[in-house]
Amino acid sequence: METVIKQTGKTQAFKDKANKVMGISLEDAKITKSYLSVAFLAILLGGILGLLQGLNRAGMLELPAWLNYYQVLTAHGLLLVVVLSAFFTIGYFYAGLSHTLGGLLPKVRKMAWIGFWMKIFGFVLAVIPILMNEASVMYTFYPPMAASPIFYIGLVFIVLGVWMCAFGAFINVASWRKRNPGQHIPILSFFATGVFVLLFFGSIPVAIEVFTIIPWAFGWVETINVMVARTLFWAFGHTLVNIWYLTAVSAWYVIVPKIIGGRRWNDLLTRIVVIALVIMNITGGFHHQIIDPGISEPVKYMHVFMSLAIGFPSLMTAYAMFAVFERTARKKGGRGLVGWYKKLPWGDVRFLAPFIAMAAFIPAGAGGIVQSTNQLNQVVHNTMWIVGHFHLTLGMSVVMTFFGISYWLIPYVSKRMLTPQINKLGVIQTIIWTLGMIIMSGAMHWVGLLGSPRRTSYSTYFDNATALSWDPYLFFLAIGGTLLMIGVLMQVYAVFYLMFFAPKGNTEFPVAEVEEDEAPTPRWTERWGLWIVCMIVLVGMAYVIPLVDFIVNAPPGSPPYKTW
């Protein structure tokens, strides 16, 4: 028996080495290639739909009756918020798990594929009623608006598919821990563990919500509890936001330092940021309900604290990133108070794109802190300001990091190389995307502050003077949207060129090392069970009071409405 264990141990050690020397196994590569292909096709489709909306809001394009603004908006949200983010995150972290844990287990590989097809199946189910105008409910699908039941069944399959991948990741990490007793989970897999913990726990509330909606949408149950559904949705909704953010942050801490030829930030502090983001995330969703009725002011005030607390690890990250940049640039001979910035590889898209992504997080994070504060939220809630905010966070900080990742991850999995031409294309793409987002998101913030609402097709409100005064700002949505469309086309071209046509070769998976003189990271950082308990306790503190109140003191429920 013992020899058997020893031998499997040896085979695994051999596999680990093979993985490092020869690159990712073809089977693992295929998983990531498939996930990333779907992610970038989603960007292409979602981008086209986004452009249509931008042109409509600018008053330049009237959408036909068979594809109206709200259908386009629902599909745009679902494609970019759910499909793009989930498929990219899973594709990227599965490659990371494969690289840092010595390959995926055969069982886990199978789970990744089952999860893949479940999500695709669910997505197709959800899209059919959207196209038939039976589900123009936005990706937030607030009851008592009721879509076709098929739409919700589609969502169930998407969630189950995500869970499959989360469990796959847990199994792979647990197996590695068993084989490597006393060792820290490699940093990228540590991030992956955090992300999959959040994906799993964060999607439990929405799963409960959807399971209560389905019998109601079928007509088996007459009414629904509107506020419970809404609250469960946002417990999920904002967690999802922070999942992409944590995915991007993993690349900032682990990948970018290697690309600029430096070492990564202190391992302990990095792990503390991950743990803090995992524990504090789910409760943040409540700030989407600051001006809802039925929640008392003290509860809302507590939630301001819970939301703002998430800002703290982000501020730790801000320091860490610039410290790494400065340290690396000075080692390369950079001088002066800020003159060292010249030593950074600005012409390398793998650095430039995530760098701009990080820089964008300064105004994006500041905006987030501002708008999750009670009174200030009331000024901008449901206005175009919010749309501007999440195009800055998701559209720049997260997506530009994903773009930056694609220039090495896709060559790594396709066993090809990034050519100088594609790098140049990437740099130009980054500049176009940056301009497009600044123009669009800037205009959105401003016009939102003036009062223009989100999720509303072009309207002058019967030639109201105030509404007409917003038009010049809305025009910038069309300009920004057009630039972004050009950016999407360039990016998708680069992705599929690197996947299928670029010259063959070995591309490295860039994982930075820690500083040589760094003290070893204490063992307690590995206590995932404890972090999950802390997270559940915090979620309990945040949600038990309002949810119990909504259930115990519930008003008569609402029947389903189809108002479109």
Binding site: P144, V226, P293, Y319, A323, N382, R454, P556, S558
Partner: protein
Amino acid sequence: MMHRSEKVWLILSFGMIIGFMLITGYQTFALEMGPPSYGERIDPQKVDETAPFDNPGIKKIGENEYEVVMILQVFSFTPNEIEVPAGSTVHFTMTSKDVVHGFQVADTNLNAMVVPGYVQKITQKFDKPGEYLVLCNEYCGAGHQMMSTTITVK
């Protein structure tokens, strides 16, 4: 493991968050500027029969003080076209007869979610004369972009 400058940065960060909390708390609880949070329940299918929504409209309740009882439904506000003299304080009492709506008045801080089953309240003092645009800011269906009215301050 931590540099001095990092400690300073983190203390400033922490201080900023606490500062936000203190100001928000002071405004919410001492100045009564908290977000709209009224929570009375109502049967969303019997709004027309339930007081005060059986009689929606504008009512003078004091010197320069008005109460507006308002019903939101796809895709209109009842009453629509409200008129008050400049300097009036207006208390809005609202509910929805169908889906979730938003009540927003451009150029003011009036912004509240109006959810079926709940009564929502919000107050605003209108000092500057003019025509204020009232609109629904929560997507509510095919005619959402038409759901609007005005408040005229004379």
